[in-house]
């Protein structure tokens, strides 16, 4: 960050926002939240533990009740399931009562993939970039399962690729119903929570045979297809 923008931020911090719309990501496995060193059982009966789950949400757009769209000012957010700071995205004023649909890409589009060295969450130092073959990794899931007859029972999915026919970015659209917008009582902060259910990903997979997918190709395309089903608007059960 340049000196200029730091000073600007410092000055801006004196102004209070009227209401901050916040989007939270809730990583779950079925009805359990995902935490480290915890075993989960997939619908296929596989025991699974996670070490690292990270993915890009990019080009977020908020469709309002009059069909107008508000675009996120940040082009891409790197979500790290085990880094709580990344699970909350604060946005400019959006009236959540009028929000009808959230659009985003799971992963990074092809134009960004050929745009050279970028900063922020897109900086290659974030570890979501392939070195031997240029391109962003859209989704990384790493962990262990006794079902994987690999070293340390490890499985690794690095899903990416921007060149056709293996363009692995996926568009996701989530309809928001008024009833399930989760509003805080104090009305200072309004929240929508996006649940990401990894049990749906692993319900499609046979991890005994598919446990190391780390380059663009057919298999990555298939996993990318499975991954979109994980996203939904979270409806609190109270």
């Amino acid at each position: 960050m340049s000196v200029k923008s730091r000073i600007l931020l410092f000055l801006l911090s004196f102004y209070a926002y009227p209401a901050i719309a916040q989007f939270s990501i809730l990583p779950v496995f079925g009805d359990q939240p995902i935490v480290e060193n915890t075993w989960y059982v997939s619908t296929k009966g596989d025991s699974i533990q996670f070490d690292n789950i990270r993915f890009y949400l990019s080009d977020m757009q908020f469709e309002m009740d009059d069909k107008s769209r508000i675009k996120d000012t940040v082009s891409a957010h790197l979500i790290d399931v085990f880094d709580p700071a990344t699970l909350h995205i604060a946005l400019q004023k959006i009236d959540l009562k009028r929000l009808k649909m959230i659009h985003f890409n799971l992963g990074i589009d092809s134009l960004t993939n050929v745009s050279g060295a970028l900063g922020g969450d897109l900086d290659p130092q974030k570890g979501m970039y392939w070195a031997w073959q240029s391109g962003y990794i859209n989704l990384k899931i790493e962990g262990r399962s006794p079902r994987c007859k690999t070293r340390k029972n490890a499985f690794q999915y690095h899903i990416g690729g921007y060149l056709p026919p293996f363009y692995s970015m996926r568009k996701v659209e989530l309809p928001v119903k008024n009833a399930i917008v989760n509003r805080n009582q104090d009305a200072i902060r309004q929240e929508v929570t996006i649940a990401v259910d990894f049990s749906l990903f692993f319900g499609n997979l046979s991890i005994a045979t598919q446990n190391s997918i780390m380059m663009p190709g057919k298999e990555a395309m298939q996993l990318a297809d499975y991954s979109t089903s994980m996203f939904s608007i979270y409806a609190p059960k109270n």
Partner: protein, 337 residues
């Protein structure tokens, strides 16, 4: 009351002074790329990375610094020496950390602003991203970008260099990669005897043999090694039999299309006198061997037929692509403070 007004005035004065300082940026010195007359438009988008003297200097320091490798033994210059056209001379396969040997011959670095992609298989899609490959390869520098950034951020020397170049002393992956491009973009070779011949300049007088060599070159070689860059930037199959100890399928590894099997990037021929050995696996030591391959193979679209004298003429022409201004330009050399 008086005192209060004075206070307010002082406070306001202080505030505005602070603001002025905050918004004043360190001046960088523009250092635009020289684009030789008659050359095509560069591929690189300079609007996203305007070239400056300070950015070039940072890139140059990084290029020659083994801090990039895991054990601080290997710098970019280990495999890319200026005097040999920024490539690893006399090794068929280049070697990196702990003497580990790679699978390909290092490529020469020159005129990269005109390159659409990089590496023998074109796996790198942008000049900015190129340094990531050797940096993380287990047989080259075997490092992690994140760790390199930590090391650079801790080094006093780099704090100053990053601040001078980017008005921010904190290193980042993006800034490091942009600085690398700033340096390598300037590694341009356009002052060979051939260039002077084309431009009708002093020092560009071709002998009869060199003229004949150029004619033969334009007849047989130029479809792939197109002037003035001496590469058409494409991937081609040149008929080399596969080396069973490497089983390198070239472009196929990236595109996954069977039609790309055994295709490799057409390299530039500039400074070829010094960039031996030749081919992606460095299998030929001499230019004569390369020409012999091309006249013997039946894998080309049109058979190349050359007499022994004609081969000698072509080689005489290829030697006119040597650019001593480039090979000995002090700006590109090891930074001696």
């Amino acid at each position: 009351m008086r005192l209060k007004i004075k206070h307010v005035i002082y406070c306001l004065f202080g505030f505005f002074t602070l603001i002025t300082f905050a918004f004043s940026e360190l001046k960088t010195t523009p250092m635009p790329l020289v684009i030789p007359e008659g050359w095509p438009k560069p591929v690189y988008d300079f609007t996203k990375n305007p070239l400056t003297k300070e950015g070039f200097e940072l890139g140059r320091q990084l290029f020659y610094d083994p801090i990039l490798s895991r054990d601080s033994t290997i710098s970019c210059a280990s495999c890319h020496l200026q005097a040999t056209g920024f490539t690893h001379v006399d090794h068929d396969l280049s070697h990196g950390i702990e003497g580990k040997v790679g699978t390909r011959n290092s490529m020469a670095i020159m005129n990269v602003a005109w390159s659409k992609n990089f590496m023998w298989d074109g796996g790198i899609n942008h000049l900015d991203m190129q340094p990531l490959a050797p940096l993380s390869s287990s047989v080259e520098m075997d490092e992690k970008l994140e760790h390199v950034i930590q090391k650079l951020s801790a080094a006093k020397k780099y704090k100053t260099l990053f601040f001078n170049a980017f008005n921010d002393s904190l290193a980042s992956g993006q800034k490091m990669l942009l600085a690398f491009s700033q340096f390598t973009l300037h590694l341009n070779s356009y002052n060979s005897k051939y260039d002077k011949y084309i431009r009708n300049e002093a020092g560009g007088d071709f002998t009869e043999q060199e003229k004949n060599g150029l004619q033969l070159f334009r007849k047989h070689c130029v479809s792939c090694h197109a002037e003035p860059l001496f590469t058409n930037q494409n991937f081609e199959k040149n008929g080399l039999p596969i080396d069973p100890t490497l089983n390198d399928l070239g472009r196929f590894a990236i595109s996954r299309m069977p039609v790309d099997s055994f295709k490799f990037k057409v390299p530039t021929l500039r400074n070829i006198q010094f960039t031996f050995p030749y081919m992606h696996d460095g299998r030929f030591k001499k230019l004569r061997e390369v020409l012999n391959h091309y006249t013997e193979t039946d894998a080309l679209k049109a058979q190349i037929i050359l007499s022994s004298n004609e081969k000698a003429d072509i080689i005489a022409f290829l030697l006119t692509l040597t650019d001593n201004d480039f090979l000995f330009d002090k700006r590109f050399g090891f930074p001696r403070d």
